[in-house]
Symmetry: C2
Subunit: 340 residues, 2 copies
């Protein structure tokens, strides 16, 4: 039996299709994702879901579809409730097999979702926690994706996040809204040392973290899936030019070597930002082991945990890198399998 | 004789037309401005310049045109040099009367500009300093516009900014890239206290300072000239909804009263940000009087200066509010008058 798990984010829609044998064990996992900016193109969601599956296997072979989401926060929707209902409506329209939704307290049918749409809002970390709990029964998992970082405590194999909604988790250290690709550099850097000076940053959307890790060679070319700020290309020089603008400079003013130093500084600043959330959760919950996952697991999560002298494990020791990138989608498929 | 002064910014193009009597004294100042996002619509610059003049007086009555600019930084241009040359080229094409450009060391002809385009890049504060020096010969002027804040020391009637380019000034406290309208809240606020919690912000472009001052009733409806982040309207409720998203909330989660408290906190944070630049310049230069101007003069510049126990004067005591908003354009017209 084949179960599809989708994680519909604001910027990326991730998919995992898991093939189970007759005893219910995993035979094979296939994954894919597509950049779909839901703030401007949410009308393309249904077609994108089908296309993603077809890239992996014929849609007719899918027996059930699980959905988790965070895209309800995008500003195309007036409220999260409106967003959740709109997204669920699209999912129901495009699939004939059973569809259900990951909520904060388990899997919901459409009927239950309609009764309490907010239970489904930004609950994708709940799905991730299912996978991580099998790796480590007492830990904090840290999942840095393209846009956000989930920092979730697990005790005795059960997630026990103090905040439940993303609003609440932004106050408990369990959600740090910073990521490997889409994050505006000015959101976590106020000034940048260059040579002997300390340069305040320009509060525009001139460059994103994808440019920083592109210049530093810490992501692969194919990982830079989101749009560039200036509509130009994704070469290292083009990324360096975008970063130069963050201090009101250009590549006539700053050399590539200087930009690499700037990028190093920004990288360290983002590690500190993520560490601040891990520290809060670790101290409150008395947990000293971190399991890292997501696109930023090696370049952001692990260094952040190590800076706090915590023990670090990686989902990458049990799953492929491609699987780690779509961890919530895999968790969603697993929860859906247990639900049907 | 009538002289037009333009200040071509990245987001706004400002105009002042000054009518001089035969002795060269100011008879009348007329002003206007238009929101022109140069990152996407720089091809409309020429037409906008003509339209702006025609709103005030027939273009045939204009005897000379002075230009200052900061728009060369927008990411439609690869380098500042390319931006300056492109903008100057447009200005030359659209006017038959003498045109010249404000540079860091005075007014430049097109010929001189071509020899050293960077002298003209982000030099509009040079024009403002001409006006302020007549109000106070030893002071720091603080001009908070829609997007940026210039903090320029004046001694014995001459500006003596330590940084000359905007890159340099971002390291000397003389440019704080924060403004009254267009500034992404996440660029200067990391977390926001609400009730008993402290909420980390979402690093998207969900809301801008115009939303904050709209909710707090500190700007007029007609001052909110830039685009909204979500493409929706400019009512207080719509601004409040945008602000709620900055902490991953919506108006189901936060009440309007709570959003007003959030806006108050953000307002104070921006005052502190501007004060940090004023403090740096004041201590380095030993200047204790601040002259405030720009759209943010009363709500941002004056409170920032007062928080440092500095003496505050306002350009508003000598000019109308409308004139203060386009101070660099007025200074540009005055410098152009002296040049021809």
């Amino acid at each position: 039996m084949k179960v599809a798990g989708f994680d519909i984010g604001g910027a990326n829609t991730d998919l995992a299709v898991i093939d189970f044998d007759e005893e219910g064990n995993i035979k094979e996992i296939k994954t894919d994702f597509e950049y779909l900016p839901m703030w401007s193109q949410n009308d393309k969601l249904g077609v994108t879901l089908i296309d993603l599956i077809e890239n992996i296997c014929p849609v007719e072979e899918i027996d059930a579809v699980g959905i988790s989401m965070t895209a309800e926060l995008v500003d195309a929707f007036e409220t999260k409730t409106e967003g959740v209902l709109d997204i669920a409506n699209t999912c129901e329209k495009f699939f004939d097999v059973p569809v259900a939704y990951i909520g904060l307290n388990g899997v919901l049918s459409l009927e239950d979702l309609i009764k309490n749409p907010l239970d489904v809002a930004a609950a994708n970390w709940k799905a991730t926690s299912q996978i991580i709990a099998e790796i480590e029964k007492n830990c904090i998992f840290v999942d840095t994706g393209s846009t956000t970082t989930d920092i979730i405590p697990i005790k005795n194999g059960e997630e026990c996040a103090k905040g439940r909604t993303d609003f609440e988790r932004s106050a408990t250290g369990e959600l740090v809204y910073t990521g490997t690709l889409r994050t505006n550099l000015t959101s976590f850097v106020d000034s940048i040392p260059i040579n002997d000076g300390n340069y305040r940053v320009a509060s525009e959307l001139f460059a994103i973290t994808a440019d920083v890790y592109n210049v530093l060679d810490l992501i692969k070319d194919e990982d830079y899936v989101c749009a560039t700020c200036d509509g130009e290309g994704k070469t290292k020089e083009e990324s360096a030019r975008r970063i130069s603008r963050v201090v009101c400079a250009d590549l006539d003013i700053l050399s590539i070597d200087e930009i690499v130093n700037v990028a190093d500084f920004i990288h360290q600043a983002q590690i500190k930002q993520i560490a601040s959330g891990i520290k809060e959760v670790s101290e409150r919950e008395g947990l000293n082991t971190v399991v890292v996952t997501g696109l930023g697991k090696d370049i952001l999560c692990a260094p952040a945990a190590k800076s706090l002298d915590l023990k670090v494990k990686s989902m990458g020791d049990y799953y492929t890198d491609e699987e780690c990138v779509v961890a919530p989608a895999i968790g969603t498929a697993l929860m859906m399998k247990n639900y049907i």
